[in-house]
């Protein structure tokens, strides 16, 4: 069965008197280990959709299954532990915890969310630090490293819990194009090594090109799907 199955999803926001239809009848399936991008202009519903897949929010109508779980039935606490066990997050603004070092930021979900024994923790963090190339900066605080470095740490933090899927909402929007390209390459490399599914959104055409499956969103509707059969560059 597919990792993510969305059937006819609607998402309405209530803004005072009027209701905004952010997603209208969206259906798709995402397979294990794929590298998927949702593309569309600002306001097209990318964040809304990723929030639903990431189990941060619930669809107004329709069915949504993630990792064999009907996520629309979970309460606050269940959603939190579902996210902690199955989903990794990468944010547009990096969102590292400012009072924790690089090492501790990656360690955070292993202590505060999952309960991984210390040796296993160390092993995973060290190998991820190496993989994202941040081994030398392990004791620095987020305000002592660059944006691209922060996002590499964020990639490591998202992967350290061995999630089924990593959600990245515009992960490169705050990076220059060279760094953006490096972060996307890193994500793809991590997918290749761990088999974790990556789903990210972007409106940057150079970044879009890196995705293997590209969904196009317009005004809350899914208007296109393009698969590129595993090749990298266009």
């Amino acid at each position: 069965m597919s990792l993510v199955v969305a059937e006819n999803i609607d998402k309405d926001y209530q803004a005072g008197e009027i209701s905004i239809k952010a997603l209208k009848g969206v259906s798709f399936q995402i397979e294990q280990s794929s590298f998927v991008s949702f593309v569309g202009p600002s306001g097209s519903g990318k964040t809304t959709l990723l929030n639903l897949i990431g189990c941060l929010d619930k669809p107004t109508h329709g069915r949504l299954r993630v990792a064999d779980t009907d996520v629309s039935t979970l309460d606050q606490k269940q959603s939190a532990s579902f996210r902690g066990n199955h989903i990794g997050f990468i944010f547009q603004d990096f969102n590292l915890i400012p009072v924790l070092t690089v090492y501790e930021n990656i360690e955070y979900p292993l202590i505060m969310v999952q309960n991984v024994p210390v040796q296993e923790r160390e092993r995973r963090i060290m190998s991820l630090l190496e993989a994202v190339g941040m081994g030398e900066q392990r004791d620095k605080y987020p305000d002592q490293i660059s944006g691209g470095q922060k996002q590499r740490v964020a990639v490591a933090r998202a992967l350290v819990t061995n999630p089924n899927v990593v959600i990245a909402d515009e992960p490169t929007a705050n990076l220059d194009s060279k760094t953006a390209r490096m972060v996307i390459d890193l994500m793809k490399k991590m997918r290749d090594e761990s088999g974790t599914t990556f789903i990210f959104s972007t409106h940057d055409p150079r970044v879009v090109a890196e995705a293997e499956i590209i969904y196009t969103l317009e005004d809350g509707e899914l208007t296109g799907r393009e698969a590129k059969g595993g090749t990298d560059d266009v």
Binding site: N51, G54, L56, D57, Q76, K77, A80, S81, F82, R83, G84, N85, I87, F89, F91, D93, N95, I97, P98, V99, L100, Y108, P109, I111, M112, V113, R157
Partner: protein
Amino acid sequence: MFNLLRIAVRNLRRYRRRTILTASLIVTGVVFVSVFVAVSGSFKNMMIGQITDSFLGHIQIHRKGYVASIDSLPLTMNLKSQAVKKIDEAIKGIPEIEAYSPRIKFAGMFSNFVETTNIKINGVYPEKEIKTAPLFLSRIREGEKIIKKGEILVPELLAKGMKAKVGDMVVVIATNKDGSVNGKQFRVGGILESVTGPGGRDGYIHIEDATEILRMDNMEISEIAIRIKEFSQLHETHNKLQDMLSKERTEQGKPIFEVHTWEKLSPFYNVATMIDMMTFFIKLMLVAIVLISIMNVMIMAVYERVREIGTIAAIGTLPGKILSMFVIEGFCLGLIGAVIGSILGGAIIFVINFSEITFNFGRQKGLILSTSVNPNDFLVISVIVIIVSVLASLQPAFKASRMDPVQALRHV
């Protein structure tokens, strides 16, 4: 837990200036309260000590109804030897009691052969009285520090009015309970300082002289004053004594004895209560200070860290952990304030003791204000501060834990 603590402490360090400001406020409060509690507490204890150790004793036993009519010192309400024996036995069964002193009290006339005035006479066993009221002898201002047979210790006010001096001969006249009048000559053995200010009219004689004036064939006792070993055991000892003595009943089933602590016997109990009340309200103010400052700082902390809260919530941190994170932060802030405040308070109390500040109580002059540093007080104040800190951070922490991660992440 370790990590929650680490994050809390680092966040406190991150907003260093605000943390220092809030902690200083709490420190000031703790210092103020602990010094106040120590000073007022030792003043209170000293006052109680002066009263109980100079004449009152800690506990007194009378025949039921005596205290209600104590102003007239009624001889008809004395305890017969049978009753005194019962009390003796009860007292022997209570190891907390250090000493006791039976007294015969009566109202009489005091004459220097020229003038006559009224006086309250206490007939006591000298050794027992001194053990029960250890400061008694220090009140004898002139003359030998002793109570001798054939001698009377005259209260200073009366001595002044009657121009009685040590060595003078005077007469004490009293009516006994049968209505016959009798007098006895005494030598003035000493002048007695009053404890609670002018107005004291209590003179002291040997108990055997008292039985002679009152023509008692069998000694009858008006009151038995008791000193206990540990003042903190006052109420326990009182209850024990009360229990034992309340078994003794008249044929009508009414209790024979009444047992009172100094609190029921001295108007200074009201002063002591007032000091306690003031202490209570000062503590209440501290609670308010801590509550407001911690709540304020924690509300700010939550507001400033909305995106961080959104991030950790999105990652899967359970609401309970987020709650703990902020509560621990408030706890640490309270702890810092309590610890530093206690240390500073202790130092100030030490300085107060060192500089030997004196004060006057009643006619006692130059009593040194020795504030006893009671570690318990610091503990109580610190615990109050810490509990209030936790309570004050609960509301903001709860708000943080309930935050919707989507909304929190959109927050700018």
